[in-house]
Amino acid sequence: MEFKRFLVNKLILFFTLSTLITVAVALVGSSFDDGARFGYKTMLLPLKYALLCMLPTFVTWSKRELSPKALLFRKALMLVLIEAVMLGIAFTSPSIDSDRAEVVLVVAGSVLVIFVLANLFLWLKDSAEAKKLNSDLEKYQQLHA
């Protein structure tokens, strides 16, 4: 993949992550600290988190097509880096009470759940697409045999 196209994909990912993080913060916040009040600067936090979470995805960049195994390994590495980034944020952000162990667990768990779900949805979508492609391929080969 060209690096320019890769960067465009990262930009799309950044905005997708911003939305998902906003939803996650709203759900987790309303469960653990429903009465909290924030200033306008807090609204920038999902963007900051999305940017920090997007940076580890650069480990999946490769000029040549990676094999499924190599890509899986890089995705696992990416998850570890994202977890490290998110836990780093949890421990340094004054708005998150990192003294409470469950908050850290919820942050790490949220990242894991979002990561697994996002990849699961993509895999299911690709599997459905592969099924359709196989059906079309069979017809194509019968037609041109």
Binding site: R5, P68, L71, L72, D126, L133, D136, K139, Y140, H144
Partner: protein, 145 residues
């Protein structure tokens, strides 16, 4: 070089004749082009010249500026560039599936998802090749005809 086209009846044998003073590289190229249009390609393997049927080729790959043809059991090198073969073999069920690769659609056994919108093509020869995300749409269009 003068070019003449002579129309013959339905019973006569079709023939492309090149009359030249010397068999130059240009003449070889014209010969190779005519043969490729008829369904065979000139190539080299272990310092020997071969003519292989296009239908025997599983996939074609460009590596470090050289172009290789892969059949079920052998690898051949050809003087053609990948983009030239893409043009020549467009009507012979060959399709670009990644930047350095063309695949014979008739040699694909099945397709599987391979993460990130890519697909893995399992060839009848037992080999596996990656279909880059950028070329998936072209594959869908080709299979639908």
């Amino acid at each position: 070089m003068d070019v003449r086209i002579e129309q013959i009846g339905t019973t006569g044998e079709e023939l492309v004749l090149i009359r030249c003073r010397e068999i130059t590289e240009e003449v070889r190229e014209i010969e190779a082009f005519v043969k490729s249009r008829q369904g065979s390609l000139s190539c080299v393997s272990e310092a020997r010249q071969y003519e292989i049927a296009v239908t025997d080729i599983c996939y074609i790959e460009s590596v470090d500026g050289k172009t290789f043809l892969y059949t079920n059991d052998r690898v051949y090198e050809t003087a053609y560039r990948l983009y030239e073969l893409e043009e020549l073999l467009r009507s012979k069920q060959f399709l670009r599936i990644s930047k350095p690769m063309l695949v014979n659609l008739m040699k694909i056994q099945s397709l599987q998802p391979a993460f990130n919108g890519r697909f893995l093509a399992l060839l009848r020869s037992g080999e596996k090749v990656i279909i880059s995300r950028n070329y998936v749409k072209a594959l869908k269009d080709a299979l639908k005809g």
